[in-house]
């Protein structure tokens, strides 16, 4: 059992534009005039040493306990990939039903075609965060009203897959 946990995180943004030159098929890419460079930030989030459950990271199988296994494990042909498949239906796609305060959230869209949409305020909330394929988002929880079970995800069309961290913090 860990004595403490934390998450070091950083953000890096590169705004650019490309322009077609006189010669056919020759383009050049430059920084946008403003900010004329890259942007970014970094920080560290303390989270509880004891989390709400093993599923606080997607890399732990949601049926990791023997008593949760509905079948004889050696007859199963699949191993847990660490990725959660999601569809366009948000119902039951909350990452957890635990109501602890959210300390840190990380979601990566590991799919190849469709966007992952994220709501921070419930299943019927605003899916305002968009994660393109291979993109990710992270944030720290800033309110005691923001709980782990406030976060819902869905795919903008068809299906996609995600990996995630949804960590609790005790105020």
């Amino acid at each position: 059992m860990p004595n403490a946990r934390r998450i070091i995180f950083s953000t890096y943004v590169v705004p650019t534009f490309s322009i077609e030159r006189e010669e056919t098929s020759v383009t050049s890419t430059e920084f946008q005039t403003s900010p004329a460079g890259t942007l970014g930030g970094k920080g560290s989030a303390s989270i509880d040493a004891t989390q709400w459950g093993d599923g606080w990271v997607s890399f732990s199988h949601h049926k990791g306990y023997w008593e949760d296994q509905g079948d004889v494990w050696e007859l199963q042909g699949e191993t847990w990939s660490g990725e959660l498949s999601i569809t366009t239906t948000a119902t039951h796609q909350d990452l957890t039903d635990d109501g602890s305060d959210l300390g840190f959230l990380y979601i990566k869209n590991t799919g190849t075609d469709n966007n992952c949409l994220v709501s921070l305020n419930g299943v019927s909330g605003n899916y305002y965060i968009i994660i393109p394929p291979n993109g990710s988002v992270h944030l720290r929880g800033g309110s005691t009203s923001f709980n782990c079970n406030s976060v819902f995800v869905k795919s903008n069309t068809d299906t996609t897959t995600i990996e995630f961290i949804i960590a609790q913090i005790t105020p």
Partner: protein, 135 residues
């Protein structure tokens, strides 16, 4: 694309490293529940049609500051807390949910829905931020 035409793009990366320590005052190691560092890198999926503008030194207080107007077709937002007092962010209006916390030096970057209405404030005191959004 014709000669002289410009195409705009924002590539962004959000990276994190979960860590744990086994004893008080001990050294932190890579979290064993996660087992690795995590990173996603992508361009915005929306087609950007104009250059963005970076605003620096914007002062925030307990009164809200609007960063992105609802329906303004902003497709990407970046906010960094450059002050020393924590900032909190709402994506759904001035009376919305200020769920995202930024301490000094931390940044939030994401592609966002065009209906997102982004506000920033502090819980108490004043701070400064830099922000960048693009449509």
């Amino acid at each position: 694309m014709a000669e002289g035409d410009k195409t705009y793009k924002v590539r962004y990366k959000n990276h994190c490293t979960p860590q744990e320590r086994l004893v008080a005052s001990g050294r932190y190691y890579l979290d064993s529940d996660c087992g690795r560092k995590l990173t996603g890198v992508a361009d915005t999926s929306a087609t950007l049609t104009a250059a963005g503008t970076l605003t620096t030194g914007a002062v925030i207080s307990t009164s809200t500051l609007e960063i992105v107007t609802a329906g303004s077709n902003a497709d990407f937002v970046y906010i960094k807390n450059t002050g020393s007092v924590d900032a909190i962010i709402s994506l759904n209006g001035t009376s919305g949910n200020y769920y995202i916390l930024l301490s000094e030096g931390e940044a939030f970057a994401s592609e966002i829905h065009v209906d997102a209405n982004v506000f920033v404030k502090t819980a108490s005191g004043t701070s400064t931020i830099e922000h960048f959004s693009e449509t």
